[in-house]
């Protein structure tokens, strides 16, 4: 889901930087309000985990590869705004040092994976885990489903961004200037890949780690933003 340089035209790249600047500003503001000093190492661990889990490419035999993002997990543990910051750090380093995701597409990639993904996943998690005690199984199930939904919503956005390019930019004779696949190919491909394979990877990673942390350190399950469920 790391859109490289050259797949999105200048309009799209500019638009997503324009959207992300206020999101990053707001995220900083929200994190300043909610993040406690003792949670800072956890945010660094979250950023590193996201960076690392994205290196675990999962193959579709004979086809393409994909990977989990770990972003829903970070959102569950630290809240979605801290997740936005943590995943942004991972994505920017991936783009700058390793060419994974384009420089011009940092806005779009952060929008999909550092904003849409943690927020969509977090919303699902909150809904399903509403009022559940910190150690309940419902929280693990909620995390599992939230991971699945979060990455699929992000994949949908990435598909739309890819798919808009032939409409936005083409030469007189119909050749695309950037991503050559339109909405009719890009959206179903991104969605099906993630619905069938990569979504489950994100789901399992999110569910398993929440289960582990629940066992080891249940106080970390949502004390930040959950006023009710946290500490029973």
């Amino acid at each position: 889901m790391h859109i490289p340089d050259g797949y999105l035209g200048p309009t799209t790249c500019g638009a997503f930087y324009a959207v992300m600047l206020p999101v990053w500003a707001l995220a900083s503001r929200m994190v300043r309000k909610t993040l406690k000093a003792k949670q800072v190492p956890m945010m660094a661990i979250g950023a590193a985990f996201s960076f690392l889990i994205m290196m675990f490419n999962v193959p579709i035999p004979g086809g393409t590869t994909g990977h989990a993002v770990g972003g829903v997990l970070v959102a569950i543990l630290l809240g979605p705004w801290a997740a936005t910051i943590a995943i942004t750090v991972a994505l920017v380093i991936q783009a700058l040092l390793f060419g994974d995701g384009g420089i011009t597409a940092i806005g779009a990639n952060c929008f999909n994976m550092a904003f849409v993904l943690p927020f969509a996943g977090y919303a699902v998690y909150k809904l399903i885990s509403y009022n559940a005690p910190a150690n309940s199984n419902r929280r693990v199930i909620a995390a599992f489903i939230a991971g699945y939904v979060g990455i699929n919503v992000a994949a949908l956005f990435a598909g739309v961004e890819f798919g808009l390019q032939p409409l936005l930019h083409h030469t007189a004779d119909g050749q695309s200037l950037y991503c050559p696949y339109g909405l009719g190919v890009a959206v179903p491909t991104m969605l099906v890949e993630h619905l069938v394979i990569f979504g489950w990877v994100e789901a399992i990673v999110t569910g398993l780690v929440v289960k582990y942390i629940q066992k080891q350190s249940p106080e970390l399950i949502n004390p930040v933003t959950d006023e009710k469920g946290g500490q029973q």
Partner: protein, 111 residues
């Protein structure tokens, strides 16, 4: 042991295992991620290289493209796996330092 200590150890184990993300796709004959092809692959797929894509695709020269050392593209999986671990460890250190700095700047001072 503190939970954060355990998680740091977990990250270390994952970093050593990360070449799986290279080896499994190779075993199963899986290529690039969808929409992340190089210009050669693009030409094979659609018969031409989109002009804007061609121009922008070489915009940035990352120091370790695709988590490998420059010029290692033709080396075998063992070399690439080594470079992958080096990338993972280096990347984690940089990501952690930056995240800690941002966290320090933003977090509330009281413990």
């Amino acid at each position: 042991m503190k939970i954060t200590t355990k998680l740091w150890i977990g990250l270390g184990i994952l970093a050593v295992l990360c070449p799986l993300g290279l080896i499994l796709p190779s075993l199963f004959g899986a290529g690039s991620a969808w929409g992340e092809w190089g210009t050669d692959e693009m030409e094979k797929l659609v018969g031409y290289v989109p002009k804007g894509l061609e121009k922008l695709s070489s915009l940035w020269n990352p120091p370790m493209p695709d988590y490998a050392f420059k010029g290692w593209e033709e080396k075998g999986l063992t070399h690439l796996s080594f470079a992958y671990i080096v990338s993972a460890v280096g990347g984690i250190i940089i990501v952690v330092v930056i995240a800690l700095l941002i966290g320090k700047m933003l977090s509330k001072k009281e413990k």
